[in-house]
Every structure is written in structure tokens, then in C-alpha cells.
Amino acid sequence: METLELRFPGDRPIIRRAHVGVVGSGDLEILLSPASETTVTIRTSVGGFGVLWRATLERFFARHPIAARVVINDAGATPGVVSLRLAQALEEAGS
């Protein structure tokens, strides 16, 4: 298990907090809360993929420069599933 702490630039407020997903095999849960800056805490069951997490999230926040507190609890989701859940969370949060 590994815990990662990341920061991203972003200042677009989200409308409401959002929660998607479950910590099931191959899945993850994401919690978004309004904040003044974007900090991300990831707890993942699969260690050693810090670079991939940063790249996936960088791509997401580049397209959606929101300011939010992001908590991710991951049980081995692929980058594709991560991106899907991020998109779902963003839709729920509104911006």
C-alpha cells in the first residue's frame, strides 16, 4: 500500500462536494470537496505507480483546473477507470 500527496494549480470553484465509486478490486472511490487550492491524497493498494498517478491527474487538472480537496482510495484501478471516475466526480461536483 502506498500513500501519495500531490498538488496541482487550479482556481475554478466546484459547486458542491461529490463522491463516486467504491474501494473494490479494480475500482476506486473519489471524494471532492470545495477548497481554495487543489491538494490530492491517494491511498492505493498497488505501490510504485506514483509517476502514472501524477501523469493521469495532471492531464485531468489541465483540462479542468478546479480548486478542490481530492481524496482517492484506490484498490488497483487502471488509468482508464481512474479517468472515468474523475469525470463522474467532476460532473457531480459541477463547476
Partner: protein, 280 residues
């Protein structure tokens, strides 16, 4: 109602996660979650064992109404750690039942529903999961003296371990065909008693022993429902609306001891059904 639902009309209840299932059973707009993900009350024991926790520890406690009457739906998330009961998830279940009891004792109406999707005690929390299970049984037995408690086993995890005792303690138990109810899961039986006793890969055998259809036919569950969210919501509501003066299954000691005393030497599924024709 079931017969007229085509496949296209149905919304699978099984495919919904715990939160969605609770929402499906509560009157529209009435859902309000307690100790939800943002309260982040997680397991204190998992990270030290290299397991990623879930923000709600795998149990959703939702207040709302069912048919206009205050209700609490306790929904276990089967996808997180097999729905297993840890310290926090167990305390959420027991604590919600204990609060429902206070309401019932004070004459405030309450309709408690449990959605069982679990393998039993979470072994990573062993003795605290077991203690919570005893608390859950205690709360159910106390609550049931005042108000009916309705349980649903939809699948695909089913209801096993100590939580199967909880299901047996409900006033009214609804299952789908896909649901299963048993004390020991097939793998646990195979591991402890050998593959000749039970081959855990034999799905037909497993469902013939513990599946919803078998359980309803032999009096271990009360109603078989089709896997459709609206149907199950309707069945749950009807279970509360119907005046039920039947004593609880777990209290009918003389009845069950008599039934079990009349067992033939080798009682298989069909023979057992002949012995106990479905009625409670």
C-alpha cells in the same frame, strides 16, 4: 407485478451499489445519509495491514421514509472487503439498530431495513468484528420485540457468516433467486471439510443449498422477489404494511425441532422440500 415486467423495464437491484440500493428503497427525495463518506469515519485497523480503507467502511446508514413512515435503511457494500463486518461498519449497523430501538420504545414509528451483502466478520478486525456482530444480534432481537425488521438478500455476494444469523433474526426476509444465505460460505466448507463434502466451484449445488428459491421453498426466507429495484422497494413496503402476527422464525423452537426430528436418513434438497412445504 413481476410477470408483466419485461427485461427492458427492469432496473437491476443487484447492479446498484449500497448507496443506490438504499436510495431505491426510500421514498423519493427522502434519502439522508448518516456518517457518509465525507465524515470519513474509517477503520482504524486496515492501513496498518496494507489495506486501503473506504470512507464509509462499507456500510451506508440512510434515514428517510418508506410509504411515508420514518425509516432507516442499513445497506452493506458487498464490493468493499466482501461486505465484511469490521469495528466501524459493525458499530454503524448496531448503533443504527440501537437508535431505532429508542424510537420504537418511545412510540415513534420506525421502519428498519437491512440489505445484506456480506461474507461475515472481517478477519482483519477479527475480535472487534465478532463483538460488533454480537451487538448487532442483540440489537435486532431487542428491536424486533417492538417493530418488524425487514431484510433483503439480493446478491451477488449473498449473506454468510455471523451476518446470516442476523438475517435469520429479521421479522421478514426477502431474497432474489441470485441471492444466497448460509452460515458458512462454500470455500470455507470446502477448506474445512474437504471437496467431497462441498465443491465450491459447483454453482448448481451451492444455489440448490443456499439460493433464494430453495430458502423460500423451505421456510428459511419469506418471499422471493425478482431482481428489479421497483419490485423490491414495493415488496419491502408491503412487508411493513401487512399486519404480521407470525412469531419470528428464530423463536419457533418447538416447530423447527419437530420438523428436524422427522428427517429421513439421507435428506437431500427435494426430500427436504416435501417435508416442509414453504409455509412458515
Amino acid at each position: 407485478m413481476n410477470a408483466t415486467l419485461t427485461l427492458l423495464d427492469r432496473t437491476s437491484f443487484i447492479e446498484l451499489n449500497a448507496r443506490e440500493r438504499a436510495q431505491a428503497l426510500l421514498d423519493p427525495g427522502s434519502f439522508r445519509e448518516l456518517l457518509g463518506p465525507f465524515d470519513a469515519v474509517e477503520s482504524p485497523w486496515l492501513m496498518a495491514q496494507g489495506v486501503v480503507p473506504q470512507s464509509d467502511d462499507g456500510v451506508v446508514i440512510a434515514r428517510g421514509s418508506i410509504g411515508g413512515v420514518p425509516a432507516v435503511v442499513i445497506a452493506i457494500e458487498g464490493a468493499f472487503q466482501g461486505g465484511s463486518t469490521g469495528e466501524v461498519s459493525g458499530a454503524k449497523i448496531a448503533g443504527a439498530l440501537e437508535l431505532a430501538l429508542l424510537d420504537a420504545q418511545a412510540g415513534r414509528p420506525i421502519r428498519p431495513v437491512l440489505l445484506f451483502e456480506t461474507g461475515g466478520v472481517r478477519l482483519q478486525e477479527a475480535n472487534l468484528g465478532l463483538a460488533a456482530m454480537a451487538d448487532i444480534h442483540a440489537a435486532l432481537i431487542a428491536l424486533r420485540r417492538h417493530v418488524p425488521v425487514v431484510g433483503v438478500i439480493a446478491g451477488m455476494v449473498g449473506c454468510f457468516g455471523g451476518m446470516s444469523m442476523s438475517a435469520a433474526l429479521t421479522s421478514y426476509l426477502i431474497m432474489t433467486r441470485q441471492g444466497r444465505l448460509g452460515l458458512n460460505g462454500p470455500e470455507v466448507i470446502e477448506q474445512n471439510a474437504g471437496i467431497a463434502e462441498l465443491d465450491s466451484r459447483d454453482r448448481q449445488l451451492i444455489w440448490s443449498l443456499t439460493g433464494g428459491e430453495q430458502r423460500v421453498a423451505t421456510g428459511f426466507a419469506d418471499q422471493l422477489a425478482v431482481d428489479d429495484a421497483d419490485t423490491i422497494a414495493h415488496v419491502v413496503r408491503a412487508a411493513f404494511d401487512t399486519d404480521r402476527s407470525l412469531p419470528a422464525n428464530s423463536s419457533r423452537v418447538a416447530h423447527w425441532r419437530d420438523r428436524l426430528s422427522r428427517l429421513p436418513e439421507r435428506a437431500e434438497g427435494a426430500a427436504l422440500r416435501a417435508l416442509s412445504p414453504g409455509e412458515r
